[in-house]
């Protein structure tokens, strides 16, 4: 079976979505780790950002990340349309089967994957505008002072609230996404899967919690600095 053919099947599609989703989760983890350097002060944070962006390989990495995003979104979109087509006439009354049998993993998170994902895609654009392509302040040693930018942005309550809402979406998306990806990739084990589910949700909470903390911390820091 040719590869392209494989990945156009319903299972192949979901495998690609799972792989790219897990890839994006790994990206989020590294992104969070970097962001947490904010806690270490302006020097460390700015130097980290500079080292990262001044490495020529960053363009390769960025291109790769963009490709992963693209595949994740494009495959999800085609998958979504195919799934819509699979049920042309909707139910008039529809209830979650979970209400009759708790075996189901259905949740608000799983039901709204497309919605949370779409909004997150838009968020990524504004996020890049705000930071990556935002005002460039020159800091010590002539490197970019991202620390200052972040202090400015998250000094504004509206931004904080906006980011917290966006992070809530990430939380929701990963809550189903991580566990779902393991199933798409065929990882199921009667003993291990219940633990994987818990681990996936703990990981989700850690990522989202970390990202929650940053705007709040920055906001409080900026207030106490005034």
């Amino acid at each position: 079976m040719r590869l392209l053919q494989t990945f156009s099947t319903s299972i192949g599609t979901k495998i690609l979505i799972a792989v790219t989703g897990l890839g994006l989760t790994v990206f989020l983890l590294t992104h969070l780790a970097g962001n947490l350097l904010f806690l270490a002060g302006p020097d460390a944070f700015n130097r980290y950002a500079h080292t990262l962006t001044s490495n020529p390989l960053i363009y390769v990495a960025e291109a790769g990340l963009l490709a992963v995003f693209f595949v994740h979104i494009a495959k999800t979109l085609s998958n979504y349309l195919a799934n819509r087509a699979a049920r042309p006439v909707a139910y008039t009354t529809h209830r979650w089967a979970k209400t009759k049998n708790p075996a189901s993993r259905k949740s608000w998170a799983s039901t709204t994957m497309v919605v949370t994902g779409s909004i997150m895609a838009l968020f990524v654009v504004t996020h890049l505008q705000t930071f990556k392509f935002g005002p460039v302040y020159e800091g010590a040693d002539g490197i970019r002072d991202l620390y200052r930018l972040q202090m400015e942005i998250f000094g504004q309550p509206a931004y904080v609230v906006f980011y917290l809402m966006a992070m809530a979406l990430i939380f929701s998306h990963l809550w189903h996404g991580i566990v779902s990806a393991t199933q798409s990739l065929g990882w199921y084990h009667p003993q291990w899967t219940p633990r994987v589910i818990v681990a996936g949700r703990v990981l989700t909470a850690l990522i989202a919690g970390g990202f929650f903390m940053i705007p709040i911390y920055t906001f409080l820091l900026s207030r106490s600095a005034q």
Binding site: R87, A103, Y188
Partner: protein, 249 residues
């Protein structure tokens, strides 16, 4: 102690005809009736009144043939876990209840009339590879190949599938993954089915897609409505076998 029940039933004259809900009330419902016997009673009254009775499929009425299947108040096969529509009894409802009844809805299961749908897509998935390729006459002695009990039990857990299509009906994507994976698992874990395990998985998945079923969102609503409570572990296994098939050719 008869109950009064009002039904909101999907009526559709034919595959391409527009459908609509119609309402019927019966005061002859008894708590010991099965859901389908309740429909029999409503139908007999419709027939006596010279009206077209509600068409629905049913046969064995003991939960094994897989013919019956109604979405009852938004849930395939109604409120009882591990049961088919024919096994739901009216004692599950209260006097005065209004019940909405819809057919399975999926592109691959076109409505034939009212609540009767065409599930022959499932037969075509089986025809694509859901068997062991062996001819009558060539079998070795039944005990010549030992099968570990755990595997035989796992095969049986999956072989129990009755092909009712509730998994498709419950899935938000109208996916047939649970049905297809149950057969792939049943045959794939047995030594008799092992030689063509990956070829089978690839062929059945291909047919499943061609029929117009959706993909799996890993929510497990199918498992929750499955009258035989087949686990979505089988779907994971199908995904594995499918990947193996894709990478080995």
């Amino acid at each position: 102690m008869a109950m009064t029940i009002t039904l909101n039933v999907w009526r559709q004259a034919g595959p391409s005809a527009p459908g609509r809900f119609e309402s019927y009330t019966s005061d002859k419902v008894h708590p010991d009736m099965s859901f389908l016997e309740m429909l029999d009673v409503v139908n007999d009254d419709l027939i006596r009144a010279g009206k077209d009775p509600i068409a629905f499929d049913s046969d064995c009425r003991e939960g094994i043939c897989g013919s019956c299947g109604l979405v009852i108040d938004g849930i395939p096969h109604g409120p009882d876990p591990g049961a088919t529509t024919c096994q739901v009894h009216m004692r599950r409802f209260r006097n005065g209840d209004t019940i909405t009844i819809e057919p399975w809805r999926a592109k691959a299961f076109p409505v034939i009339k009212d609540l009767v749908v065409d599930r022959t897509a499932f037969d075509r998935i089986i025809a694509a590879g859901g068997y062991v390729s062996m001819n009558v006459g060539g079998a070795p002695d039944g005990n010549s190949v030992p099968v570990p009990k755990e595997l035989a039990d796992l095969a049986m857990d999956n072989a129990q599938c009755i092909g009712c299509g509730a998994c498709v009906a419950a899935c938000k994507n109208a996916a047939a993954h649970l049905f297809t994976s149950a057969k792939i698992t049943h045959l794939g874990v047995l030594p008799q089915g092992e030689p063509e395990r990956y070829r089978r998985a690839a062929a059945m998945v291909e047919q499943m897609d061609a029929e117009g079923f959706g993909s799996c969102s890993n929510e497990g609503e199918c498992e929750a409505v499955c009258p035989k409570q087949i686990s979505i572990a089988s779907i994971a296994r199908m995904n594995r076998d499918f990947m193996r098939a894709a990478t080995s050719k």
